[in-house]
Symmetry: C2
Subunit: 212 residues, 2 copies
Amino acid sequence: MKTRTRHDPAGQDQDATPGTRERIVRAASVLMQRQGYDGTGIKQISQEAGATLGSVYHFFPGGKQELAVAAVRRGDEEFAGILREILDGEPGPAEAVVAVTRSLAEGLRASDWLDGCPVTATALGTAGRLPDIQRAASSAFAGWEGIVAEMLRAAGIAEEEAADLAGMVVCTLEGAELSAQVSRDERPLLVAGEQLARLIALSLRGGLPAGS
Amino acid sequence: MKTRTRHDPAGQDQDATPGTRERIVRAASVLMQRQGYDGTGIKQISQEAGATLGSVYHFFPGGKQELAVAAVRRGDEEFAGILREILDGEPGPAEAVVAVTRSLAEGLRASDWLDGCPVTATALGTAGRLPDIQRAASSAFAGWEGIVAEMLRAAGIAEEEAADLAGMVVCTLEGAELSAQVSRDERPLLVAGEQLARLIALSLRGGLPAGS
DNA sequence: GTCTATAGGATGATAGAC
DNA sequence: GTCTATCATCCTATAGAC
């Protein structure tokens, strides 16, 4: 699926000396995550990537829009990987969700509250205007939900309830990271983690259906 | 606090024939909500408001940045009003939160998924770059949390737990609205409403502390 | 307070040499 | 594939007449 112009002996995408296209996508992902679609210039991306403007348009003939879609997909895959990694390392779903919030809080603090969700800023500024970007973002959310839902089902929660809970988890993580970033305070994320854990524990015990 | 150039007999800010400054702030709020800070031009704002560029800089000598702060504050007040109105009309906090999600879903659908949270897009695109806007957005979130916390305390939830729950509610609403807008589907909001209601019901019964 | 005109710079995108 | 030069357009902000 990915066009590699350089021979890759290991057959994997390592970080070592990434190709030009790869550097452009990475730079676009980081910059648009921080500044949004309209706030990020192609010239800025090319400089940050150590490439020229010509190279950008060589790899992305569709221009800024095509590049933004690639950047969102990249952010999608990155967070999906982190999510899977954390979830696999925790004993249960409640602990796993708390661990994710802690990881997000660390990432925010380490970047001085600059690096939030890798798709939100790009998607939000282009909401009813650039459908390709919107679709890529929507697909990212759906994928993350699927990962969380799988974990919940593996823990014994019924199919339908797991899907609802997973949606709730992803939405809350999204909102809590946003709130933490804007207020430059990790508390929203930590509180969200605790409350989500409470909710998951409740479902694990099969208690208190929604209507009561 | 507000400079009114026109005589206002009722002593209130009615919608009838709003002054130029008011029209500019409204247009800026709507446009930045949809397109973000960098995606919205001052010229576009002035046209939408039926004002000239000179008028915009007359009322907002600080330029785009000052105007964006006013727009975010306006969005803050508007949603705070809606929130208070809905919360007052519901019998309990669980029903109230569900009613809010339904209202948000209706607003999204009615605008063809264009009008999401009135502060998120503006704040997110300017995150570590324009502190004044960030502070206005942070203050908005804090205010909404306060409104929700007051409702929860009035329902008998202890001070500290009410604060945490209110933070959770606002974060989840934020994330669910974002998710619903991006996926053009109201389900994230409705699921979030149900799950938040479950969580609130749990707190009302004093059950299942976070650590268990 | 309202309006027009314009300065000064940045933007997305293209052309074409190498 | 890489690079530079350039076009046409847009932007924020200002100046100054009315």
